[in-house]
């Protein structure tokens, strides 16, 4: 029994020791829990918060571009997009194969995505597919959950709802290339430059490459912000937390003075012809239409255009990439005659009633100059010479006026001047004179060249925009009209060097001549005078710009026209006009490339566009508040 008692007490003792050991273990566990949770709790709470919430760069939405009446010209469109983040994808091939189960993804495209993903930092999202159809978007949204590192989201994409209509004016946006990035970070400090680079790596970000999109980049872009995203351990976004305090600031909208409806009608009127047209409001100088046709579709450029497509555009003989109205310089031909007449009157070298006889030939020096009209015009005063566009008359008065005076008056009309409208491009053309010729051609000015200058040929070139400004200044009887394109937005400085004014009396004579062109017997564009609106007429001036030199032999045997010569050798047809004649509101210039006859081709186009402008009341009160001129796109709200 003692042994039993021994065993009993042994067991009891050992049980007590074991119980104490168990208690010690429990105490250790509780102490450790207390240390982790209560003593160090705050530190771990911070770590936990960092774990779950990620700040995701949120690109700003680019500002819209609106027309005069608030119609969207460049807007944003929501489109589905699939992207993947390399560092979160376990097996790139497998992930792409899984995506390909749901949407079409060719092996070549998969290879391209893969090489793109490996060419950039491992945390930068790579676009797998964009512009998803609704079905693809829905299907992928469902299945992407099973593919780590792959996400499907709605992205804001730039879109140009009016397609080609304003291609050259708006320009387009594209993903920032290395060259863009170099430009965008120019002059920025290192951290700023890094932030800009990071922003433009975002698949939603685009930068303006041409047109207003380029010029007004700062105005349109906005400020990037962040989104607070809750992610799980695999990096998948679980939810978005409220992020209003750090949300991006969207870009500002920009309004142009153009009436998009008029623009479209004008383009339609051109049909298959290539050319340009500019419609201006005479009172404000607002450009209501700035047509260059044919054009490209800026929507094709937003996600990158293929080299093949780009080559097609570039090799097109009608130059769709070229902004003919702003960058295109053409000899203005006879549309320049008002400038020459005004210069002659200012110089006092001719009396308006003085008559010059035209028998089609004009001799000067040892050469013969020709009038366009077979058989000549006969006896002409200034009014009749403008109306009938008599070349001989203008050879005579140009010679009397001299190159310096004509050049000076031309500049006052805006020739040779680059009008900075707030978009890329813009050319000044050439207003030739002796110093110009010496510097460019290294020889002196010959007086014979003044004769060519007098009929708007020779070295003189002008853009359709300049012709519209000239017309507006004549119609406004010498008031200094300057063209505007941007209504609300970054407006370039109007630091146009301008000296002198026009004599209203001279301008009235010019207007009378232009009225004669369309409304009096002997006018070169009689058929285009009536706007078809039951009363209002237009006054204008035809022009034909020679593309090639006409040889004596050809002139004798009959000048080749139409199908007899290649299209690109045919003359350009021009017409400038204003309307209504009694109280001018609109000025227009039209050039139909290789259209041959100003009267036959360009004048009807100009008339129909003008009629459309009046019917649409394109110069009506705009929807925007005009911004004051600024040097570039960084001021805020402008005063009206």
């Amino acid at each position: 029994m003692s042994r039993n008692r021994d065993a009993e007490s042994l067991f009891t003792r050992r049980a007590a020791i074991a119980a104490s050991a168990g208690g010690a273990i429990w105490a250790a566990l509780l102490a450790r829990l207390y240390q982790l949770q209560v003593v160090d709790g705050d530190a771990y709470r911070k770590l936990a918060a960092e774990n779950g919430v990620k700040l995701d760069l949120a690109p700003p939405r680019r500002g819209d571009i609106l027309d005069r009446f608030g119609r969207p010209l460049a807007a944003h469109r929501r489109a589905g997009r699939i992207s993947l983040v390399r560092e979160q994808v376990a097996d790139m091939d497998q992930a792409l194969a899984q995506i390909a189960n749901h949407i079409s993804l060719t092996p070549e495209r998969r290879e391209r995505i893969k090489s793109r993903a490996y060419s950039q930092a491992r945390f930068v999202p790579t676009v797998v597919a964009e512009e998803l159809s609704y079905e693809d978007f829905a299907r992928m949204s469902l299945h992407a959950v099973d593919i780590p590192g792959v996400s499907v989201e709605m992205a804001a994409t730039r879109s140009y709802p009016r397609g080609r209509d304003l291609a050259h004016v708006l320009g387009y946006v594209a993903r920032a290339s290395e060259r863009d990035l170099t430009r965008l970070t120019d002059g920025a400090s290192r951290p700023e430059a890094a932030a800009v680079r990071r922003l433009f790596k975002h698949p939603d970000m685009r930068t303006g490459r041409s047109g207003i999109e380029f010029f007004a980049e700062d105005w349109l872009r906005g400020e990037p912000g962040f989104r607070r995203l809750v992610t799980n351990a695999a990096g998948r976004v679980i939810e978005e937390l409220p992020s209003d305090d750090i949300a991006p600031t969207q870009g500002r909208d920009l309004s142009v003075t153009i009436d998009a409806e008029l623009q479209r009608k004008a383009i339609e009127r051109f049909g298959d012809e290539s050319g340009a047209a500019v419609v201006m409001d005479i009172e404000s100088g607002d450009i209501l239409a700035l047509v260059s046709t044919p054009a490209f579709d800026p929507n094709d450029f937003v996600n990158g255009i293929s080299q093949t497509d780009y080559d097609v555009l570039r090799n097109n003989s009608r130059s769709p990439l070229y902004h003919k109205a702003y960058d295109g310089t053409y000899p203005p031909g006879s549309t320049f005659k008002m400038v020459v007449a005004a210069a002659a009157l200012e110089a006092g070298v001719v009396d308006p009633s003085e008559r010059v006889f035209c028998n089609r030939r004009y001799w000067f020096g040892n050469r013969t100059w020709h009038c366009w009209k077979p058989g000549g015009h006969g006896s002409m005063n200034m009014h009749e010479a403008i109306k009938g566009s008599c070349d001989v008359y203008f050879y005579e008065i140009a010679r009397r006026t001299g190159v310096e005076k004509i050049a000076e008056v031309s500049r006052r009309f805006g020739f040779g001047q680059v009008w900075d409208l707030g978009m890329t491009g813009g050319r000044g053309g050439v207003v030739p004179d002796d110093p110009w010729k010496r510097s460019v051609h290294g020889e002196q000015w010959y007086e014979g060249e003044t004769l060519n200058f007098g009929i708007g040929q020779g070295y003189l070139t002008a853009t359709p925009l300049q012709l519209a400004v000239m017309t507006a200044r004549i119609a406004a009887e010498g008031r200094l009209i300057t063209p505007n394109l941007v209504g609300e937005g970054p407006r370039p400085d109007a630091d146009i060097p301008f000296d002198g004014t026009f004599d209203p009396e001279i301008m009235q004579r010019m207007k009378a001549g232009m009225f004669g062109v369309t409304s009096e017997g002997g006018g070169t564009a009689l058929r285009s005078g009536d706007l078809g609106l039951g009363g209002p007429r237009l006054a204008g001036k035809t022009g034909t710009a020679q593309v090639r030199r006409i040889t004596m032999a050809e002139r004798n045997s009959g000048i080749l026209k139409g199908d007899a010569i290649r299209r690109e050798l045919r003359d350009h047809a021009l017409f400038v006009a204003y309307a209504p004649t009694d109280d001018p509101k609109y000025a227009i210039s039209v050039i139909v490339e290789h259209g041959e006859g100003g009267s036959s081709t360009a004048a009807p186009v100009a008339r129909d566009i003008m009629a459309e402008a009046m019917r649409l009341n394109s110069r009506g009160t705009p929807a925007y508040t005009r911004t004051a001129s600024v040097s570039s796109g960084q001021t805020g709200d402008g005063a009206p």
Binding site: L29, L33, G41, A48, G52, A233
Partner: protein, 396 residues
């Protein structure tokens, strides 16, 4: 007859030994002797398990049915526990050696034909069910050791050699399980088996010399016996920050989850770490992180407290038991559950290396639940049959 079985000395009172009664009324009467408070605490722990499992799996549709499965398993093993509670100790004793032998054979079977899960060979497919014999060995070993000491303790209580067969009983399955390799279960077997030997009266000087040997041998074992991944887990314990996305990831994330719970937690289903799947195995071995994150120190300490009450109560039952077999078997069951909890909590809160031991009744997983509920059934049986007299050799 070597009389260890009746060393307690006191005889039965009016009541006849319950184990002899196999009649219907006997069963009802035995059922009435169930310690219902203890049963209620067990129910409470399992309910916490279901609720927390729901929280930890709610964000993952694939795991949506886990809480329900857990509840169903608990209900089934709960019934099993009640049935086991009614089984007389005499029968437990009779089954002890066959159960041990059978499980040992299964362990050898695992070594030869077992399937691999999570890098280790632990599962044996028998018909439609996969079993993990190493889990059942925990209970079988306790029974076998208790059975062994029931036979020999009274007669030769003083000798050292009496403990040698017991050590062999422990080392055979421990070696087999270590080879799988399953460090956690090996340690648990050695620990709970060792506890029984300790209760059986192994000399202090032997305990101390084995302990010293263990401490001295640990570095050698660390370098020559452990596998690379096991070494990595141990290294991670001391320096989890060294490779936070590699070996240390799980333990670092677990510590963040536990620590960020603070005093009273983030609220049910509000745990960021838990809801966002930052912790691998969070519904099985790392379930404590969910409790600690969502219910804070109060929640985690509360669970440990409930378990402490259960274990204390169970240990009191073991102490009160009349027979050596009952005492030692019940103590072994208590030790098994205790080491489950200690290893699991210690690993989750960064006190022990990651050894893959679940939190009893809370972690998702069937085999461990069967083991734990069987252990509890044995303890309940030891309570109901506390006054049964057992012969030295039992039925053998």
């Amino acid at each position: 007859m070597s009389g260890y079985a009746d060393y307690s000395g006191h005889s039965y009172s009016a009541r006849a030994p319950a184990s002899v009664k196999f009649g219907r009324s006997g069963l009802v009467e035995k059922f009435g002797r169930m310690p219902w408070g203890l049963v209620l605490l067990i129910l409470a722990v399992a309910s916490i398990g279901v609720a927390v499992l729901y929280s930890s799996t709610v964000t993952n549709p694939v795991e949506a049915d886990l809480p329900m499965k857990h509840a169903m398993r608990f209900v089934m093993t709960f019934i099993m526990m009640l049935v086991l509670a009614l089984i007389p100790l005499k029968i437990w004793m009779r089954l002890a050696f066959p159960a041990y032998l059978g499980t040992l054979i299964l362990l050898i079977g695992v070594e030869l034909f077992g399937s691999t899960g999570g890098g280790a060979q632990r599962w044996l497919q028998i018909g439609p069910v996969g079993v993990q014999p190493s889990e059942f060995m925990k209970l079988a070993l306790s029974l076998a050791l208790a059975r062994y000491y029931q036979m020999y303790l009274g007669a030769r209580a003083g000798g050292f050699w009496i403990h040698l067969p017991a050590l062999i009983l422990i080392m055979m399955p421990a070696a087999l399980i270590f080879m799988q390799p399953d460090l956690g279960t090996t340690l648990m077997l050695v620990a709970s088996g060792g506890t029984i030997i300790f209760f059986a009266g192994l000399y202090w000087r032997i305990i101390l010399s084995v302990g010293t040997l263990g401490i001295l041998g640990a570095p050698a074992a660390y370098f020559f016996v452990l596998e690379d991944y096991q070494r990595a887990r141990v290294e991670t314990l001391w320096n989890p920050g060294a490779d936070p996305l590699g070996a240390g990831y799980q333990i670092e994330q677990a510590k963040i989850a536990v620590g960020s719970g603070g005093w009273d937690g983030k609220g049910y289903m509000q745990g960021i770490q838990s809801q966002l799947d930052y912790i691998p195995e969070q519904h099985t071995d790392f379930i404590l992180t969910v409790i600690a994150e969502e219910f804070g120190f109060l929640g985690a300490a509360g669970l440990l407290l409930i378990w402490a009450i259960i274990l204390g109560w169970a240990f009191a039952i073991a102490l009160r038991c009349n027979s050596t077999f009952g005492r030692l078997a019940a103590s072994g069951a208590v030790a098994t559950i205790l080491f489950y909890i200690a290893f699991n909590a210690g690993m989750v809160i960064g006190l022990l290396p990651v050894v893959g031991v679940p939190m009893p009744l809370v972690s998702y997983g069937g085999t461990a639940m069967v083991t734990v509920m069987a252990c509890l059934g044995l303890i309940l049986s030891a309570h109901i049959h506390r006054d049964d007299k057992l012969t030295a050799t039992g039925i053998i």
